[in-house]
Amino acid sequence: MDEEKLEKKLKEIKWDEIDNGIVDAHREKFEQSLLMYVEEENRKQVTKRKMRLSFAFALVGILVFTLLVSISRFTQGETFEELLMKNPTELKMYNDIKALLPPNSPPLEIKINKIEEDKNLGITNLYVNLKNSIVIIDSKQRNIIGVGFPLYHAEQSAYRSQIINLTEREIEEAREIALGNSFIKRLSVKSIEVENPTVFVDSYEDNLPYRVGKVKVVTVNGKVITVFVDLTRNRVLDITDTQNVLGEHITRDPEIHNFFYDLGV
């Protein structure tokens, strides 16, 4: 069959047409279910749109929250750094350390490695870069209420320590520092005892002594509280109960919590 003939045939040929009755019957039968499908599909679309919108809102919310937290952390960090640098005792300590450093050493900068807020106690622990020291801040007042240096490290090799005997003068000084503290003053003290011999801690840098006295205070109701005093700088370092040591494990005793608000450095 040649090209022309085929073309002619294709144009002539009658392709099977469907009966109108079948078309009409299907149109009528299918209409109702189709319209119901449209309704259902619209409902699905609305739900999907709502879900997408909620998801978008949630995402934006998370982003905004993260941003706010980051900004707050950053500002908080800056405030605390400023607070540290303005504190004369800390400054003196770091200046002493700096003076001991060899001439070519990199500049010594105080950095806060970690900020940990304890909302129950209303305090913030700043973990600074110098030998794991902890600075305790009153979260509301933004004051330094305690300068911690983890004594439990005294037993570890990172800190050189030895058992020493305190002099009579040092024992008296430790007792005075502890009793002069506003928190201890509020307690009904049954007995007070300065531990002797105690741990001599050679802290921060090799040649910078950090002499600590450990004063055990027993209240009338039998509570035992330990006051760590810095004999080198005449101040209270920290107050703990029998189980806990310093900033990381501050006692949950509400009486002791109150102390932190009164404590001055």
Binding site: L10, D16, E17, I18, H26, F30, L35
Partner: protein
């Protein structure tokens, strides 16, 4: 009162489902006939027509956004449904190892009458590969031009022309064998 366009009706149906009736009434018969021409089977035509409308409803927003005239789009969807159906059938036939039997195509006889020639031609068309068959049917029996077919099949005009030429060549070849074999 101004008659609502297909696109407007489609958009409106997103809020008022009953408006879709306008689209349905405008296109049901045309699509039904179009699918029947391609499949030559009433049951399959019913199924594929319904599938076509379901697809239209599901993708209303995409259709509106596409900018393609709705008429072309609905033909594209229905043709695509047919094409998918043919492919499924082909796979099934391969699996079953059977020859496909068309519902209303009669067998070839040795009669040389004009009527029988037409039947042979119809059968040859129905035995063409899917895409070629669709192009031939739309071009010769639905009076669609190459441009319209190209839009419906979402292909270039030159591609459609080439497919049509190849389909005609195939038909000539098949018919030559039949005629010459007999004469």
């Amino acid at each position: 009162m101004k008659e609502i366009s297909d696109e407007e009706a489609l958009k409106e149906s997103l809020v008022h489902p009953e408006v879709f009736k306008i689209i349905y009434e405008r296109y049901h018969d045309r699509i039904f006939r179009h699918i029947y021409k391609l499949t030559q089977n009433v049951e399959i035509t019913r199924d594929l027509t319904e599938e076509t409308f379901y697809e239209v409803i599901k993708y209303r927003e995409t259709i509106i956004k596409s900018g393609v005239p709705f008429e072309k789009y609905i033909y594209r969807i229905s043709t695509n449904e047919v094409y998918k159906y043919f492919n499924r059938e082909k796979k099934l036939r391969k699996f079953q190892g059977k020859l496909y039997e068309k519902e209303e195509i009669k067998g070839i006889t040795d009669d040389k009458s004009e009527e029988i020639d037409n039947e042979k031609l119809k059968e040859a068309i129905n035995n063409l590969p899917e895409l070629k068959r669709i192009c031939i049917i739309m071009y010769y029996f639905e009076d669609k031009n190459i441009e319209e077919i190209a839009v419906i099949l979402n292909k270039g005009k030159s591609t459609v022309s080439r497919i049509l030429n190849e389909a005609r060549n195939d038909l000539r070849e098949v018919l030559r064998e039949k005629f010459e074999g007999k004469e």
